[in-house]
């Protein structure tokens, strides 16, 4: 009996996966545990391994196809076995697979490749989009839950075919200058673009060709998520200067002990994480997210703190789970290992899931404050700047104190200014008097 190969659901938010490559052709023998195809979710790309032995009988989707999770993408079975000619249209109900799927595909390895994000679309729409070389992410769906239908793709293709009116010479020049005519204002009748309209528009050539890097993989994910967050979330950023004197003392006192126990050094990041976790316990609205339909605010029971880590491939945010329950030693252990994995591209998908709050530390650079963009669907993100000796008043004298600016961006849909300010004040206080953390 032929066994289905499903598009795995790799995270709670994953709705679709993009097939990056097939390792097997139809008719190829497949061993259990052998990678069959590579898939890109909104967070990561992985190789999906076979959990059956046999022959790859059928594959229904091609490279770059965006497939809803739990959709049958192919079959593995005995040679000559009969399988459906076309893929079953609707994905299996999520409930049935949700529990077992992550287990089945836990044995996956990250890879680097292309992405297309999560888009609801009918298979026919996908086929037409592929035939026309257009991206589903560029169009709007008219179906339920914005699902893209075939007609939506046709409409999009037709609209895209209506190029801006331009003279032949203007078109040739624009092509040479790599200028998008849609960005040029035409001076002619009916806004027709003439060659002279190109000057001063867009990126004019300076003679030297710019370097070109395709926006894909992690870059594409970061680009999409940041753009979405910045454009949909009403961000407010609060700043607070935090005196680090006591945190420095705490760190030096615990340093040797922690190195001895974990092999890793204690960083301010972990002290801050501890303080943030503690403050989040007191301010549940900051450890929250908006439900997908935006009808409810979800107050998370667990405090899972994400750490923004810069890698060669781009920004990733591994998550320290249950940070609120961990002591400094455990936090050091967890965050150091995650950061290492991130830099070595060995992060597992689940290690980037479930975050409820994010810390972005730029303290190693000459940065004081900044406006971090919220890692959706979280409610807030804390940006940490450099520590520097700052004049402060003490008993009528000017003294210098090591201070760091904390920048807290919060989602004003979820939480208001006053409670967010109260949270930031608590974080500040916990770091300035860190012994409270021991309570």
């Amino acid at each position: 009996m032929a066994k289905e190969i499903f598009m795995p659901k790799l995270s709670s938010t994953m709705e679709t996966g993009t097939i990056l490559q097939w390792m097997k052709k139809e008719g190829d023998p497949v061993e259990m545990g052998e990678p069959v195809f590579e898939v890109m979710s909104d967070k990561i790309n992985i190789e999906v391994e076979a959990y059956e032995e046999g022959v790859l009988l059928k594959k229904y989707y091609d490279v770059d196809d965006v497939v809803p999770v739990n959709t049958i993408v192919g079959y593995i079975g005995e040679e000559e076995e009969e399988v459906p000619e076309t893929a079953p249209e609707e994905p299996a109900p999520e409930e049935t697979s949700q529990e077992e799927e992550p287990k089945e595909y836990a044995d996956t390895v990250p890879a680097t490749a292309d992405a297309n994000g999560q888009i609801r679309a009918t298979p026919a729409a996908r086929r037409v989009a592929k035939e026309n070389g257009v991206l589903l992410s560029d169009m709007e769906g008219s179906g339920p839950k914005q699902r893209i239908h075939q007609q939506d793709v046709y409409d999009y293709v037709q609209a895209a075919g209506e190029k801006p009116k331009a003279t032949p010479l203007a078109r040739k020049r624009a092509e040479e200058q790599n200028l998008d005519l849609n960005t040029v204002e035409g001076s002619g009748p009916g806004s027709k673009i003439y060659a002279k309209d190109l000057t001063g528009s867009g990126q004019k050539t300076t003679g030297a060709e710019p370097g070109r890097i395709p926006v894909k993989g992690i870059r594409k994910i970061v680009a999409d998520r940041m753009a979405e967050s910045a454009s949909t979330v009403p961000h407010v950023t609060l700043y607070s200067e935090v005196d680090m004197t006591e945190a420095i003392r705490l760190r030096s006192q615990l340093q040797d002990k922690i190195v001895e126990e974990t092999g890793y050094k204690l960083s301010y990041t972990e002290i801050m994480m501890k303080a943030v976790a503690e403050a989040l316990k007191r301010h549940p609205y900051l450890n929250a997210s908006l439900s997908a339909d935006q009808q409810e605010i979800l107050l998370h029971k667990e405090i899972n703190v994400g750490l923004a880590v810069a890698t060669e491939q781009g920004l990733v945010v591994p998550v320290v789970p249950r940070a609120g329950e961990k002591g400094l030693t455990a936090l050091v252990q967890a965050s150091k290992q995650l950061a290492e994995n991130a830099r070595n591209q060995r992060l597992q998908p689940e290690q980037m899931q479930g975050g409820t709050f994010t810390i972005s530390n730029l303290g190693m650079y000459a940065v004081d404050g900044f406006t971090p963009i919220i890692n959706q669907p979280e409610a807030a993100i804390l940006g940490v700047g450099q520590m520097k000796e700052t004049p402060a008043e003490e008993n009528g004298n000017v003294v210098f104190r090591p201070k760091t600016t904390f920048s807290l961006s919060f989602d004003h849909r979820i939480v208001d200014g006053a409670p967010a300010a109260a949270f930031l004040s608590d974080v500040k206080q916990l770091i300035e008097a860190p012994y409270e953390l021991l309570m």
Binding site: P168, K172, R173
Partner: protein, 462 residues
């Protein structure tokens, strides 16, 4: 004091076009004219000479037709009758302009107008002086033939393009001083009417401002018509001789001193601007012409200058009309609708010469990478059938995109045909679009099509 939104001084093709446009925009408009409506173009330029050239062309055709089997018996013509027809054409067109002015509720004030910086317009009329106030003034007073400072010329009776048709009979011989556009047109006209014509031109070649190949074709044609052409010749002195002739002493290009005698002298050595209407203003000048910006406005806000009087631009009737429209549009706060940078140029010789855009010389001077393609009319079926296969079509185009920089055409009807390449240039079509548009056969315009294809290296016949 009567007030107007716009007062236009001069009713030539610049002035009356401006007036009509202003009236269409609902502006209270007056035109001040001290001679006849229509200006130089209608009365002393384009229209009289084209009418007379048409007569000459028909005479030529009839003469040629005898060889083709069209027998007409003895051919004769009446110069006075030709002049009368010319008058009729002019009168009819003038009354047309009068009608347009009336329909547009444009006040036409007969008299010599002058304006000051306050845009008060003083007019000397037959019934005394009159003063008007305008919000904006457009000076369109044009130019007058220039008589160069040649010894004896002022004192000797001579004609200019203003006066040449005042003489009611044909001279046996005519000396034309100046081989520019006006000079060669009159040379064609009178030589076709069997007048013995000599052109004396101080520059290297006739039509020095146009394409050298075009000038060479025209020179051959003029010489075939019996015209003597002395280029790079220095005119020393002109004087009246006792036998009623005029003699001219000159040094030819070889340095030889020569003298010729002719019945009449026609001076076509350029034109000078009529600036008296602006004498009381503080407008600025460039080489005697009024300095204007791209809206045709002078340095005095609200005072505009268009046409021949304005510096820069082509001194052509249609350029003046376009500039007039541009000035009015600016006054009305409208977006300029005229592409005044692209002015086709037409010379009504036999064969005609027409050009648009850059000449080859200008293309070279611009430093861009260009390529030219020239296709002669000798291979054109239509031109051969017409018995007029002299001339060529030349495309000057930038190499990278095939942007058409300029087109020169020499041959029959090219003054009509130049509209096609001009349209391509105006709409920024490149050589590729021109080459891909199927042209009807047999036509003269196939020549342009052929040139475009040959430019791309895929000419069918070339």
């Amino acid at each position: 004091m009567k007030t107007y939104d716009i007062i236009i001084i001069g009713s030539g093709p610049g002035g009356y076009a401006a007036a009509l446009r202003a009236s269409k925009e609902g502006k209270r408009t007056a035109v001040v004219e001290d001679r006849q409506l229509g200006g130089t173009c209608l009365h002393r330029g384009c229209i009289p000479s084209k009418t007379m050239l048409q007569h000459a062309e028909i005479l030529q055709q009839v003469e040629t037709a005898a060889e083709w089997g069209v027998q007409t018996g003895d051919i004769s013509f009446s110069y006075p009758q030709m002049l009368r027809r010319k008058e009729k054409v002019v009168t009819q067109l003038e009354s047309g302009i009068k009608g347009l002015m009336k329909n547009g509720n444009i006040d036409v004030i007969q008299g010599r107008g002058r304006v000051n910086d306050k845009k008060e317009v003083m007019i000397e009329t037959e019934n005394g002086a009159q003063q008007l106030q305008a919000a904006s003034v457009i000076a369109a007073t044009g130019t007058t033939p220039l008589v160069p400072p040649v010894k004896g010329l002022k004192e000797t009776a001579h004609f200019t393009s203003d006066s040449i048709f005042e003489k009611k009979e044909l001279p046996a011989s005519l000396l034309i001083v100046g081989g520019g556009i006006v000079g060669v047109e009159y040379a064609c006209l009178f030589a076709s009417l069997h007048v013995d014509v000599t052109i004396i031109e101080m520059k290297d070649e006739i039509l020095v401002e146009e394409d050298a190949d075009a000038a060479a074709v025209l020179r051959r044609s003029l010489e075939k018509l019996g015209v003597t052409i002395e280029t790079k010749a220095a005119l020393e002195e002109i004087q009246s001789a006792e036998n009623g002739l005029v003699t001219a002493a000159y040094t030819d290009r070889g340095g030889t001193k020569l003298e010729i005698a002719a019945d009449e002298v026609l001076v076509t050595a350029g034109r000078k601007p009529n600036t008296s209407a602006l004498a009381q203003t503080s407008v600025q000048y460039d080489n005697g012409f009024v300095r204007v910006n791209e809206n045709m406005e002078t340095n005095v806000p609200g005072i505009y200058t268009i046409g021949d009087l304005a510096s820069g631009g082509w001194k052509l009737a249609h350029a003046a009309s376009a500039e007039g429209v541009t000035a009015v549009e600016h006054i009305c706060g409208l977006k300029p609708s005229m592409h005044t940078a692209l002015i086709p140029r037409c010379i009504y010789t036999f064969p005609e010469i027409a050009a648009v855009g850059m000449t080859e010389k200008q293309a070279e001077a611009s430093g861009c990478h260009y390529k030219t393609e020239t296709i002669p009319f000798q291979g054109s079926g239509k031109a051969m059938a017409m018995g007029e296969s002299e001339g060529f079509t030349k495309i000057i185009a930038e190499q990278k995109h095939g942007e058409i920089l300029g087109v020169v055409m020499v041959g029959p009807h090219v003054t009509e045909m130049i509209g096609e390449p001009a349209a391509y240039m105006h709409l920024e079509g490149t050589v590729e679009e021109l080459a891909s548009m199927v042209h009807p056969h047999p036509t003269l315009l196939e020549n342009l099509y052929e040139a475009a294809n040959a430019w791309l290296g895929k000419g069918i016949h070339h």
